[in-house]
Structures are given as structure tokens and as C-alpha cells.
């Protein structure tokens, strides 16, 4: 393994630059260093103006998303040594398809607005008082949505999705996966409300199943799967409203789920 590696980092300061330029920094390679450690090394010892987000250093807070050689990655989960052979250069930029505020820091207000738009909170049909205890939920029912609940909001999926890049109104993979997390939660009754928001071209129908979002997700949430499943369900829901115009109640939904669970 080589002793040092060259990091080409995109630098952008709106007070000075019109667009990002690349600056090279030589950093030592240690077996247990990740890209984030290299960035910290540069900031502490070489150039204190290098700007990036990070916090937990263990892939759970979702702050450190960056592009490494054109791939969206978490800075804390990408080892320097895996690039030590590739001509000894690593290109580091801010996450693609987001506006860049400074160096490697992206602007996330749009993403947060999209998260809020899908109503990512529990909408139970009726909420018993706390004195009656918890909603019952079997481990199988928990499995139904657990995978979609693992999202750390790192936005790597947005950096991978070409639809996000081409259409800024597209709600995006993480937001739809989060909506599905609640739709599939047995305690929730808000599917229709969320579908009313998402069954549109800027919602689930904007997705063309490129599948890159699932590939880059560090937590194996499978947002592409979530969206395609939502498409199937949205069509079935629409068909049901056509055939049963007097409306679909949550009780019917749970009966169906119980029915399919029994059939399993």
C-alpha cells in the first residue's frame, strides 16, 4: 500500500468563486483511515478553511455524504486504502444534484421540505389513551416496514437518482421510502392521505426505476423497492375506489392484511 495519496477536493467559496475548482492535497494513508479522516487531517494541519459536515464517524447520523470518484458515499464509511491503487488519486466533491453552499456542503432545505410533504408521522385511525397501553404489533408486522425505517437521511440516494437531477420537483427516493415506512406500519391509517400527495408525476410516478438509489444506500433501505411497491398499491387503491366508490376504510385494509398474513 502506498504511503500517501492525493485528494482532489472541490473547493467553492461564494465570496470568491463563481464555480468550484479542484485543489490537490497529499495525505498519508493509514489502514484504518477513511476519507473523512483525510479531510480532518487537511483541515487540522494544512488548510483550516476546508468545509464539510460530519458528526458521528460511524454511519448513523447521515451528515458526511460526498461524491468520491463520481460515486455517492459516506465519508466515514469509505476507506482511503481502497483507492490507494487507482493511480493514487481520489476526487472528492459535494453530493451531486444539490446546490452547493461551500466546498462539500450542500443545501438541504428542499430535501427537508420534501420529507415534510409526505406526512412522515403516524396517523392512527383512533388513538387510545396512554393508560390503555401500547398498540399491539407482532414481530412480523414490524418486519413489514422495518427496512424502510432505517433511513439516516444521508441523501446519497438523491445524488444517485437522475430524475432528481433533471426534475427538481420530484419528491425523491428517501421521502417516498419514508412514506412507505408509515403506510406499512400496522398502527397507521394515513395511507390515503399520503397517496393523495404522492400519486402524482412529482411523486411515485416520477420514478423510472433506475435503481441507483438502492445501490448506493448505506443502510440497505431499498427505496427503489419501496417506490415500485407503492406504485402497485396505488394502482390497486385507485382500482378499488373505482369498483367500490363508497370508500376504503382502514378496517378493510387491516382485514386484508390479516387475510394475507393468514394465507402466508
Amino acid at each position: 500500500m502506498a504511503d500517501t495519496i492525493i485528494l482532489e477536493i472541490a473547493r467553492y467559496s461564494p465570496e470568491r468563486d463563481r464555480e468550484p475548482t479542484f485543489k490537490s492535497y497529499e495525505v498519508p494513508v493509514h489502514k484504518d483511515w477513511v476519507i473523512l479522516d483525510a479531510l480532518n487531517h487537511v483541515k487540522d494541519k494544512v488548510d483550516g478553511s476546508l468545509t464539510y459536515r460530519w458528526s458521528c464517524r460511524m454511519g448513523i447520523c447521515g451528515s458526511c455524504g460526498i461524491m468520491v470518484n463520481g460515486e455517492p458515499k459516506l465519508g466515514c464509511a469509505t476507506f482511503l486504502s481502497s483507492y490507494a491503487g487507482t493511480g493514487n488519486k481520489v476526487r472528492v466533491e459535494a453530493l451531486r444534484y444539490f446546490p452547493v453552499v461551500r466546498d462539500l456542503v450542500t443545501e438541504l432545505s428542499d430535501f427537508l421540505a420534501k420529507l415534510k410533504k409526505v406526512k412522515p408521522w403516524l396517523i392512527p385511525d383512533n388513538e387510545p389513551p396512554l393508560s390503555e397501553g401500547e398498540f399491539l404489533q407482532t414481530p412480523e408486522q414490524l418486519e413489514n416496514y422495518k427496512q424502510f425505517a432505517m433511513c439516516i437521511n444521508c441523501t446519497l440516494c438523491y445524488a444517485a437518482c437522475p430524475v432528481v437531477g433533471l426534475d427538481s420537483t420530484f419528491v425523491g427516493p428517501a421521502a417516498i421510502a419514508l412514506a412507505q415506512r408509515y403506510n406499512k406500519d400496522s398502527r397507521d391509517g394515513g395511507t390515503q392521505e399520503r397517496t393523495a400527495v404522492l400519486a402524482h408525476p412529482e411523486g411515485i410516478w416520477g420514478c423510472t426505476f433506475v435503481g441507483e438509489c438502492t445501490r448506493v444506500c448505506p443502510k440497505h433501505v431499498d427505496p427503489a423497492g419501496a417506490i415500485q411497491q407503492y406504485k402497485v398499491e396505488a394502482v390497486l387503491q385507485w382500482a378499488r375506489t373505482l369498483i367500490l366508490p363508497w370508500g376504503q376504510k382502514k378496517s378493510q385494509k387491516t382485514r386484508e392484511e390479516a387475510g394475507s398474513a393468514a394465507a402466508d
Partner: protein
Amino acid sequence: MDALMHDVLLVGGGGAGLRAAIAAAEVNRKLSIAVVSKVYPMRSHTVSAEGGAAGAVKPDDSLEEHAYDTISGGDWLCDQDAVEAFVKEAPLELLQLEHWGCPWSREPDGHIAVRAFGGMKKKRTWFAADKTGFHMLHTLFQTSLKYDPITRYDEWFVTKLLVDDGRVQGVVAIELMSGKIQAITAKAVILCTGGCGRVFPFTTNANIKNGDGMALAYRAGAPLKDMEFVQYHPTGLPFTGILITEAARAEGGYMLNKDGYRYLQDYNLGKPEPKPVLRSMELGPRDRLSQAFVHEERKGRTLETPYGSVVHLDLRHLGENVINTKLPFVRELCLKYQNIDPVKELIPVRPVAHYMMGGVSTDINGATPLAGLYAAGEAACVSINGANRLGSNSLPECLVFGARAGKAAAQFACEQSTANGKVAAQAEDERRRLENQFLRKAGGKERIATIRGEMQATVEKSAGIYRQEDFLLEAAGKLHDLQERFEDVALDDHSRTFNTELESALELGFMLDVAESIVQCALARRESRGAHQRTDYPARDDRNYLAHSLVFRNADGSSRVEYSPVTITRWPPGERIYGQQSAAKGEQAKTQEATFAQEKQAS
């Protein structure tokens, strides 16, 4: 400068902060609530908590038992009225979170599952797989989106509390995105900024845990309580600080010094057996293991690595199968974040600073002595954790006291008139200070990273696992020097837009104040209790020190330590019993057996 105005202002948007915001919104929907956080709320350090949250709900359990475990685990420094309120409200808060959608792990019949945890004599720890804090924080964040009265100020860094007329009137904060320095006035301010692990060189804490709220309160004249009590976890990776769970030792891991010797046998922790034995060797109490490490280090029997001295945790003899089925998360963390494979390699570990029992001194409702200032979560010290926190108590602490502080602050705000205009001048002063000291300054020769490194080394040496007077005095002097050198710090980054170097400098300033308070409190407490171990005063002294230490900042910038009594209601101080001593006692031995069996299963 235009002032933004709100009724209740939260500094920090983690578990405690979001819970307090929701509680305040529920007191009165007409209140305007601001959550001001230097990171987006889902990045708060609550997210990395793994183990679980304790709540006594099962029929074989009782509030009294939970309270007793907490109080005895805290070496009787806990305020018992606060503990009683805590154990009563913890299950309700956890249930409320469940109603908000938190995916707690379940029994096959659909009820909440609980598991054992170190120090708890009954199974009462609720958990959401091995990512309890993550699920709790995301549930709170997503639920908070429902509440219109809550306005979030994401990535705004609070630099100072505005105080006038003996009352807190708001904060001054930098909007990181633009660099604009703004005053945000509020009738009540709640500090929920978490702990201060980054004062130490080896810590499980994230980069953002710099004791911001503690320093803000301290500088504003509110006292900090019990700052000398710092909890260490005996096995953390030295470089990243990632926690290696106790379960790795419970499955049969060995701890070896640099000669490959299971050194724990030298410290009255039993004899080395091939299989793990309860209460013995690697399954001994956490603080005894941390102390053994310090002794080994002093004898020169630990390994020196570029990241500090370590011992080794050996899991290789367990085999790949056992590791993959029983300890998959340990293997994943080591491989993914530090490139070490426990199946083939020795894991370097050392004690790492984990939790701060001390914090901003508050009463049972989160109120500090400074009117209008509240605190909750790890940033506060009520105190329910006393001299040593039990595992799985800190997540419910955020919820219970977050809710209490939110309610209390909201009620206080309802009774107040609007803040007066004098704070505008203070805010201008702060803006000028920041510009002169950091942004516009030419010259200066100190680098932030250098001062930070020296501070961390000083604190670890003097206020680490073992403390003694001469090291503490030396540290006090050294920290004073560092404070002076900090005045001479130079930034490379003079930009206004998202200046993280300025942020680091301000955080360093906070950490230096917090470090000083830790050292002063440790110096003043001449006994050993819980997590505070003095080699020169090894015994517990209930006569003189069954009291909380309160550290205040004097007008000249120095500090003074006072004491305030501990509230004892039902449980008079007893002895905190460890494995060895109880071996001879029949009934007690059985209970201890149960305790350590639970520690073995602890996450």
C-alpha cells in the same frame, strides 16, 4: 440587527430538545417555539445510542426497584425525589413514543419486549433492535414536523445567552449558511445540547458534543452541577471511539495486555478460565475494568499505537460462526469503520469517555436558578444519575425531563411580558466580539487543533479514570495557559459562508470552560464516589461529601465550587456492592448473580 422573537427557544434539537419542543407546543398552541440547532436535528448524538431505554412496565417489576437500582448505581448521589418522578414517568414517555410510531421490538404476542441491562436487577430495558436512539430520534423528529408552532433554525450556532434584569431573554446565534449573527429573543430558553465527551481525547461522542449548553449557562451565571462525574466505557476503539459492546466479553472475549497476558487476574477479578465466568475477569464491573487498564498503562504493559495506548480484545478463539451469529454488529462496526476483522485480528480497545453525569444544575422541572433558563437531557444535571449512570437510563431521561422542562418553560413564557429592547445592544457587542476575535483578526499564531489536542491530553491525564491532587492542580494551571493561548488563535477561514473553522474555535472556547469546571470540581471533592476516583482519597465520605458540587463563574473569570445537599426521601445511603464482596452472602449473592447475568446479555 433585526431580532427574531419567540416564546420558548430550544438550544439543541436532539432527544431532549425535540421532546421539550413538542411538550411546549402542547401546553399552548399559540406559543411560538423555536428549535435552534447547530446541526440538522436528525444528526444529533441521540441517534447513535444503541442499547435501550428503561421503563418499568412488566408485571414482575416495580417503580421502587427501578428507583433503587438507579440510586444505588449512582452511589447515593441521586436526588431521590427526582428519581421517583423519573421512574414513574419513564414508562409513560416511552409509551407516548410508541403511540407516535417508534418501532420498539416486540414479544411474539405483540407487546413491548424488554431485555436485561447492566446494573438493572430486572428486565426493564425497552429496545428497538440495536438502534434504539436512532429510532427514538427519528420518531421525535418526524412527529415534531406535525406541530406548526415549532419553527426550526437548522444549522444556527448559538454563541451566547442574552441576560438582562436577572432573566434570560434569548440567544445570539450565527446562521451558518450566511454567516449572519442574529439575536433571537425568547421568554424562556431550554438548553438541550448534550454532553461534552469531546473534551476528552478518547470518547464515544460525536464531533458535535462540546458542552455548548453547559458553557453557555456557566458564562451566563448559572451553576454547573457534579461536573467531576464522567462515565467511561472500558472497551472502545481508540481511534474512532466506537463502542465495543459488553456482549463481546460476555460471549467469551479475552482482554490481553501487550504480552498477550490476561491481565485482569492481577486485579482481584478472579482467575482466568477458558469460558467466561460471571462477575469474574472480563465480566467484572465496568469501572474496575477501566481502572485495571490505567494500572496496566502505568506499569507500561499496554501497547502504544499512534492513537494512544491500548490493550487487546481477543475474539479470534470464538470462531467466525459464533461471531457472525452472536456479535454481528461488533464485526460490522469494526470492519466498516476501522478496517479491522475481529475474526482474524485482535481488536485494540481502551476505556473511552462516554457520558457526562454532570451538567447545568436544574431542579425537578428543568429550571435553573437563572430565571427563564431551563435545561434537559445530558446537558442538565437534575440529578437522577448521581455519581454513576446506569445503562439505558439516559434515553428516558431525555424524554422525561425534556417534557418537564418544555412544560415548565411554556408555562413560564405564558406568564411573561415581551423581552425588552436592551438586549439589542448585547447582541451587537457579541457580533463585534466574534468579528474582532476571529473573523477580522490578522496575525495570531495558535492553531485550533493544537490547543484542542493539548486540552484533551491534559484532561485525560488529570481528570480521567483516576484523579489525584497534584495532577489536578497541574491541569488547572495548564488549562489557564490554554485559555490565554486561545485568545491568540488564528483562523485560516475568514469567509462568512458556512465557516466551520469559526464554529470549531467557538466550540473549543466552550470546551475550555467545561474542562476547567471538571477539573475544579474534581479537585474540590476529596473522596471517591462512583465515577470519581481519587487515589489520594480512596474512600467514600458521606459525612462531608454526600452533596452535589456546584461550580460558579466569578466576575473575574475564575471559578468557585460550593456544595448543595442531596435530596434523600426513602433510601438511606448504603454500600454499593460489587461481585467479590457479595460472594459470601447467600441471598445477596443470588441477586448479584442475576445482575451480572443481565450484564452479560447487555447490549
